[in-house]
Symmetry: C2
Subunit: 695 residues, 2 copies
Amino acid sequence: MENYLVLLTFLGAMAALLFAVITAKKVMKFSEGTEKMAKISQSIRQGANAYLKRQYVVVSIFFAVMFVILGIMAFKGFVTVYVPFAFVTGGFFSALSGFVGMKIATASNARTANACREGLNKGLRIAFSAGSVMGFTVVGLGLLDISIWFALLKYVFKLAPASITGAMLTFGMGASSMALFARVGGGIFTKAADVGADLVGKVEAGIPEDDPRNPAVIADNVGDNVGDVAGMGADLYESYVGSILSAAALGVAAFNGKFEAMALPMILASLGVICSILGTFLVRTKEGASQKNLLKALSKGTNFSAILIAVVSYPVVYCVLGAQNFKMYFAILAGLIAGVLIGQATEYFTSDTYKPTRKLSDSSETGSATIIISGLSLGMLSTALPIIIIAICVLIAYFVSGGAADANMGLYGISLAAVGMLSTLGITLATDAYGPVADNAGGIAQMAELPEEVRERTDALDSLGNTTAATGKGFAIGSAALTALALMASYIDKVKGIENGAEEIANLSLMNPTVLIGLFIGACLPFVFAALTMESVGRAAQSVVKEVRRQFKEITGLMNGEADADYAKCVDLCTKSSLKEMILPTVVAVVVPVVVGLILGVTGVVGMLAGATVTGFLIAIFMSNSGGAWDNAKKYIESGVHGGKGSDSHKAAVVGDTVGDPFKDTAGPAINILIKLLSMVSIVFAALVVKFNIL
Amino acid sequence: MENYLVLLTFLGAMAALLFAVITAKKVMKFSEGTEKMAKISQSIRQGANAYLKRQYVVVSIFFAVMFVILGIMAFKGFVTVYVPFAFVTGGFFSALSGFVGMKIATASNARTANACREGLNKGLRIAFSAGSVMGFTVVGLGLLDISIWFALLKYVFKLAPASITGAMLTFGMGASSMALFARVGGGIFTKAADVGADLVGKVEAGIPEDDPRNPAVIADNVGDNVGDVAGMGADLYESYVGSILSAAALGVAAFNGKFEAMALPMILASLGVICSILGTFLVRTKEGASQKNLLKALSKGTNFSAILIAVVSYPVVYCVLGAQNFKMYFAILAGLIAGVLIGQATEYFTSDTYKPTRKLSDSSETGSATIIISGLSLGMLSTALPIIIIAICVLIAYFVSGGAADANMGLYGISLAAVGMLSTLGITLATDAYGPVADNAGGIAQMAELPEEVRERTDALDSLGNTTAATGKGFAIGSAALTALALMASYIDKVKGIENGAEEIANLSLMNPTVLIGLFIGACLPFVFAALTMESVGRAAQSVVKEVRRQFKEITGLMNGEADADYAKCVDLCTKSSLKEMILPTVVAVVVPVVVGLILGVTGVVGMLAGATVTGFLIAIFMSNSGGAWDNAKKYIESGVHGGKGSDSHKAAVVGDTVGDPFKDTAGPAINILIKLLSMVSIVFAALVVKFNIL
């Protein structure tokens, strides 16, 4: 049976990749529209390509350095010889996920805009197909990487299960490092361009969004692709493989190396691929559909996939783990439901159809200060519900899996909840990734001066994207918390297997001062990280503002359309500053766990991981929800309430939205990756820390 | 020797109170100035009095309910019979501290303004004396309450040391509850009035700050007294007794009921009183002194007191604990130094003489959105240094006290560090409490139309108050974290003494799911609490805005000075809304620990306390420092840079300052109290939770 289970994972990977290729080919058959549209799309493509190429150059230096460090550690016996290679492939596949996503997104933006000239349904189909290509590429590459390494370590190098999962967690570290670079770099790029374009273009010069006279307009659209697409692709690749690998590792610990327990998360993921593919066929809508109908069309697909996986995983768990362990199924179910509920909580706090965002828009009446205060408190208050949902999910997952009798079983249950939550990532990511494509299509419609109705259609798609993005974030944040907890357990497990490790990690009580201090330091990291990334956005935006002001001043004839803006200069500026700014936060994330470990020892590291997971979860929700609510409050005012566009209320709401931009698109999502990367780094450097720590 | 030690505490209390009375009499001898000044001061006094009286009515209902609940619990044997009474006296003395502070502050504001007509030095002396009255009343009442209860329980009821400290911790809970009401209610009052006055007066009507035509101007000045004075008094009373009581309780645990270990924190506090009194005599400055000299004058006093207590506590520890335990001294020293360092870190991040606030003011050039983003990231980044300082302090305190061999000794060391940090509270609070007096004096100078130079002098005093407030906050936040840790240890200790308690609390490992979930829930509380208080400020401010607008519209002749504004209406409005709004946050703080305990059990409670302490510490620093930096960035711009008053940069900075107001004066300081109240409530309800919890 063992060999069949490995094959199943591989087949899941193939199914996902095949579906992605077929869908991509379908998308490419559509026309890019007028020559002007094709030209604009071409500029965006070139900018995004150029950015990613230069990002990969910078990142590869980091990977080369880490490869050498891990190589030396392997030579000294602190890690196995597979670790440096696993690290690099994890990074490679994560980068590839982002790259493919960017390729298809930049190829689909003009096609979506053109399809919107014909009708809303056609536009939705193309944008959603582009999102699907991205979603299934991510899960396909994830499963491919897992199955190749798995087969290699099992059949070629003939390692024991514990060594297999140990080596494979390293490629999680590679994936997480790459994801952090992509999220932070892309996030800084996109928000610097966005804030820069808005501050000078909209506020100072008074020209509309996406106006071709704005020199930062192409950079803004490039940003959507390198941040919201390539960054998100790398990010979710990391989440996906992280949850599967940590569950596999904990399965080995819980079932004393039983192969089936290690394979279960991979099998669930493969089944999730099939369920997701089936779900995509349900996404279609009638012409002239309202926004509500559009949302229904998307929900039909995701809900169908979720229910399907919930149904089929029952017999699977029963067969794979045996009758006496079928209760693990309820852990998976708890994860699946928790993901949906967190998504709904996010939607409640950030959508303008509910009270919180409506009340937020009311507070714009008394100016920008009050909308900022209200938005911050909305975000802070919105942390309570997800915390309770995750708490209940963890409790259920732990106790139904038999954690009361055997803690390892309980921890395996928690990790399976994370796998359950992400099992239908193919389709949830598709609904998420389609947003930036629609956003870009809107930009092209505006720049190519297409009729008003086209822009209205792309706006409808875009606005829907905000809601699905909220749901997607629910899954991303929820799974990050569960996976981080699972990785923490994997870390402890790993340390126990190291010489002297078991003694060192014996006292994990909160009354142990090293644990407590680790907790304080870990809890502080998301704050510092958020601060660093927000400051980076500020600095990068500042430079864009100056450049746009300069062009408005120096290029004669720009404002009346007689001369072209120098778009490339702004793209180049964003590229340079975001690449420069992304380095420090990532290095902090890699260095701190090692330093904390060397000073406080392994108990300090566990404290740090717990602290970072808990506040990271809170800060990520706080920032995402504040940002999302400000964005939608602004859109709600633009729909005509509180004086509509151009009113004082609207100006106040624009300030809120601008503050929210780095919140929701740079700092917030990067923290999800941070909390997992910290664990991965700790795991890889565990042996070193056990040997050389001071306290 | 035992009896002498108790007497020493009582003498310390008497010395502090006597010094407060003498200083108050000295202040009262000065003239209130012109009739107009006296009349304005009178209005402020009446408003503050009226507010406090109504606040006490509301609070006494809460205390009555709690008294009944605790009475029933005592009847059922869950708490001792002293607990309900201790609870009420704690609340009473805390309220009294705030009340006395408010009395002297409202009596000194016009006197300070009048003294400033003669010169800066005289103004400083009166304002500082008023602050001293408050500072020494707080410590005097704290020590008085402690020594009376101590004598009562020891000599009249003849309880064993463990029972004494157990009962006495309950009056900590009373003090904390009262402090939370005072801080939250006062904080909402002051910021609602401030924001309301600024938004309509300064921004909409374009009249200067403290202009008598502004209907909210008296409410604004009343707010300084009920928030920054009465609220702070109750708050620091709570910190002070909390640190002493938790140290006493841990001393009993560490030294197996040895009386001296219980008495040491009280003796240190008494010595601190003497050192502080001596320090106050050094606070004076030459006429025409620069702001730097003023600051030097204050620092001379606080530094002298700190060094003195550092010197004298060495022989004291040696004598009281014996030669074999003299190392505890270094724990005290670590606390003292950590307090100073956190204060300096706070000053670095919030004073406009350093880079961070200067850079923040630069970001006002690109508008309110960028100054908000930069201010938020400044606050978040500023958490790192205090975290590291506290981490090192905890490590030193734990290990020098012998925590490696006996955890109880280490925990006692941590609690002594908190006592060390707060030992010179008399003088640090004096330098802190003098700020609002100077602020009020400025308001009176403006309203009474005193010459420009008087206002300049009060402004110099006020601006200095911002810096000393920052230092004071360093002590308040740092000691809150240490005290909360000590209380957590006391809680565990308490549970171990309850039937079945020892088993229930055996597994405090971070891998225990109830601990982990408690951690998540606890970490979320400061976020929720901050959100609730900020929303309250928003709502209350909204109502003030409407009332001020109404008066401007309906009272004819108000703008050209022909008619008087209806000040009382605004005061009444602020009173009503702040009293209404203060209830929910406090009830949350009291109810949540009990509910969490009943569901998750005692391990869940410990997790919750750790989570709340850690994120509470972070959020309190973040919010205080962001708020302080925005305030000073605005003042820096008003000094003439970036276009000065009235420029676009200034407008952006005003938005920052308005957002910062509820940050630094409502939510931030209240969280310090919250984290201790949670522990106190948990301790009091421990027996109930052990018996009835579900998991």
